[in-house]
Amino acid sequence: MGKARKAGTLLTRRELLKQAGLAGAAAAIVPAGAIAPAHGAPAPVAGQAPGAAAIAREPLEALTTAEADVLEAICARLIPSDGNGPGAAEARAAHYIDRALAGFLAPSRQAYAAGLAAIDRHAVTSRGAAFSRLGPADQDAVLKDIEAGKADGLPSNFFGLVRTHTIQGTFCDPFYGGNANFVGWDLIGYPGVRTIVTPDEQRIGVTLTPNHKSAYDYVMFNKATARAGGPDDGHGNHGDPA
């Protein structure tokens, strides 16, 4: 299973030592569930394609409204709603990212602050309007610049970071706030979490009916460890069952 080691996870000694200095901060991450969501009516999502039905935005847990506007619009271009069905906007990938930035992905919070601001500045400079107010073609042009690192103040590989998190938010278990209504799983034909799979369900040529089930629809599984799940969160300390 050594092959399971992900490419790009090696750190240099300098990065390593830098991280060591941040260890205290990592340990102090507040569980996402402990943060009270802001109350109030859900706001409409900015940056949707004209004519698309309004998608309600959930109360924000980490991002500011301005940041969320940019992020929603980026997600909607990375995995667009089109003839192949709903995309990252309907999956609520931005909601997944917002919630995760208040929890497991908290170490990326500063990168999002800097990166989203840089993208908005670049949109104004290069295309004359805030990112979320541009049309799809202009948004794609800005994102190509961002992918190539051509914007001032952009954190290193910010495009890759957002793409990775947008895919997570579109295809993850809905428990985490993304993949809403299972639109991500339906897109690629994943038939849903099952706890028993029959021999016939593993034959080629069989198309399984999606069951639209999350892992946590099965009451047998503990949820607490899923919501936290970060390094140093002390999970897994369940004591001796004997």
Binding site: K3, L10, I167, D240
Partner: protein, 572 residues
């Protein structure tokens, strides 16, 4: 050490096992059944099937199984040579828990093949001594498969291993691996079932004149010892089993040993050093729980952490008798290290859906025709070979992150159209290949990076050599041939990669008769410290072309049985 003076001294026990994972968790049973009192010090905790939610984001993306207390703080550093840049992975591949990494491993439970025990003598006999790669420190094992067979058999039946025998007392059965060494009897359970995809690949292999077979797994194919059969739900990779069908020691040998009343399991025990008496024998183990230091005296210590931590613990345990680390007066601790050559994979794209959404990495088809010395190497420039393994295993985030084979951009509508069509049409194989130890591949202590207790972490200095690289290219070609024969329309070849931190790490405390080149003797006890035993793949001198766990477990059982039979001599 100062810690021992300040530590709370606990009541002496007969045996301390450090680390209750794949090896330590198995060794506990024969000791407990013999009435020997054991204290097992485990850094992790108990996990149960309720903890093992089928949750890809948590398990596979966020590495939840490994994100536990100790290992994450002790990730070894690595560099390719003494002059290379030192790097560090962001995650330790192993986990701390009762049962250790057997909770989330793939559970392939292979025996090594006969050649793996005799690489030097067999290579010399067939091709001449010059064919043993220059710079390699490889030795024949002190015994052959015939000696270990009894222990393989015992562990297979004790924990439960499913599979199809290919050789029972010399009688070849073509449904199994015709290249394997003789077994004394069949597996205790039939193999895991095939899938549409594994059957497709098996048919293609047969068409090439190869000999496909279902691989062995420590997973129940039927009810075994009161635990149910596998549910094939698709979350075995980096996940524990939700029905206890994966036969980790946590659900097999450890509970059974506890029932004897002779095994005490201490969880969240962070072992720091092994203590030595004035006579040069080990006297017990220092550990820390929640900042409180303890000393657990014992008559015998069995070190059963992972390969990196086995060497590290010895190197950290310095004393007047062992100034360079415990059992290291011959300078062999950390030597003969290697991690399995598993890179240079192949990813294929098929023209139809494979329905691989469920299943597990142990549910696959193997080909051994190009492993070990199962083919003539006379005209080749390497020794050894690789086991080809394909399996059914796919989850949605991983599927969406599939390679686009140059056919689509990486985002936008065209990318979305590509993954919608192809998410269930790709497959990546698992190619495990012969890996040898070399003079300049080794483990030691990092001079800079320390854990939160201030103790140096392990440092890996290692790289693949010509033999591994040539062999990788050869095996990769065979895998491409196999995928093409099964109808793949595109193939991608992965790089060999670096010999970094791995779940298949070997050596550092090698087993052998020669005290000048090995840390432990043929029974797994230190050449220098008679009451110190060492368990795990750190004692293995060759990798073979297959997963190490069952071999580590067979060796652990054998070491424990030897201790039972020679208690007075060893315990003193």
């Amino acid at each position: 050490m100062a810690t021992a003076i300040m530590a709370t001294r606990l009541k002496e026990t007969e045996v301390v096992i450090i680390g209750l994972g794949a090896a330590g968790g198995v060794a506990a049973l024969p000791l407990a059944q013999a009435g020997i009192d054991i204290v097992a010090l485990e850094a992790g905790t108990w996990l149960t099937k309720r903890d093992f939610a089928p949750d890809e984001l948590r398990n596979n993306v966020r590495d939840w199984p490994q994100a536990v207390q100790k290992a994450q703080h002790e990730i070894p550093t690595q560099r390719v040579s003494a002059r290379g840049l030192t790097l560090r992975a962001s995650s330790h591949p192993m986990m701390n828990a009762v049962g250790g990494t057997t909770l989330h491993y793939w559970a392939q439970s292979w025996r090594l093949n006969p050649w793996d025990f005799k690489v030097v003598s067999e290579t010399t006999k067939r091709y001449g001594a010059s064919r043993v790669p220059k710079g390699s420190t490889v030795e024949d094992w002190p015994f052959g498969l015939d000696e270990l067979e009894r222990y393989y058999d015992r562990v297979e039946h004790e924990i439960g291993v499913s599979g199809q025998a290919g050789n029972i007392r010399g009688a070849i059965d073509r449904r199994g691996n015709i290249f394997e060494g003789p077994r004394s009897r069949p597996f205790p359970m039939p193999p895991l079932r095939g899938t549409g995809f594994t059957d497709l690949m098996a048919t293609a292999a047969t068409g090439l004149g190869w000999h496909p077979f279902p691989g062995p797994a420590a997973i129940n194919s039927r009810t075994y010892d009161g635990r149910p059969a596998c549910m094939y739900h698709g979350f075995c990779n980096k996940g524990g089993c939700h029905v206890d069908a994966k036969n980790s020691p946590a659900v097999t040998t450890i509970p059974k040993a506890q029932k004897t009343g002779h095994l005490k399991v201490v969880t969240r025990a962070h072992v720091t050093t092994i203590e030595v008496s004035a006579s040069g024998r080990v006297s017990g183990v220092n550990y820390v729980t929640d900042g409180v230091e303890y000393f657990q005296p014992a008559r015998v210590v069995l070190l059963a952490t992972y390969t990196y931590e086995n060497s590290r613990t010895l190197l950290l345990s310095k004393s007047a008798a062992f100034p360079n680390g415990l059992s290291n007066n011959h300078g062999q601790v950390g030597r003969h290290y290697f991690s399995h050559n598993q890179g240079a994979g192949v990813t294929a794209l098929f023209p139809k859906n494979l329905n691989n959404w469920y299943g597990l990495p142990a549910q696959g088809t193997a080909v051994d025709d190009w492993a070990d010395d199962n083919f003539d190497h006379a005209g080749l420039d390497f020794i050894g070979g690789g086991n080809l393994w394909i399996f059914s295993d796919r989850r949605p985030i991983g599927a969406a992150n599939m390679d686009t084979f140059g056919k689509a951009p990486t985002w936008g509508s065209a990318w979305k159209a590509f993954i919608k069509e192809n998410a269930d049409r790709t497959n990546t194989c698992y190619l495990q290949k012969t890996t040898l130890p070399y003079e300049d591949n080794y483990l030691d202590l990092d001079p800079v990076v320390k854990d939160p207790l201030g103790l140096p972490v392990c440092r890996i200095t290692a790289d693949y050599k010509d033999n591994e690289r040539r062999l990788s290219a050869f095996v990769q070609d065979k895998m491409v041939e196999w995928y093409r024969a099964a109808g793949a329309v595109e193939v991608l070849r992965g790089p060999v990669g670096v010999m970094g931190i791995s779940t298949h790490a070997y050596g550092g405390t090698r087993m052998g008769d020669n005290v000048e080149t090995n840390v432990v003797n043929r029974w797994g006890f230190s050449h220098e410290v008679p009451n110190l035993g060492i368990l795990g793949a750190s004692v293995m001198g060759t990798s073979g072309a297959r997963n190490p766990t069952l071999t580590a477990q067979a060796l652990a059982w054998r070491t424990a049985e030897h201790l039972v039979g020679n208690w007075k001599t060893i315990a003193g």
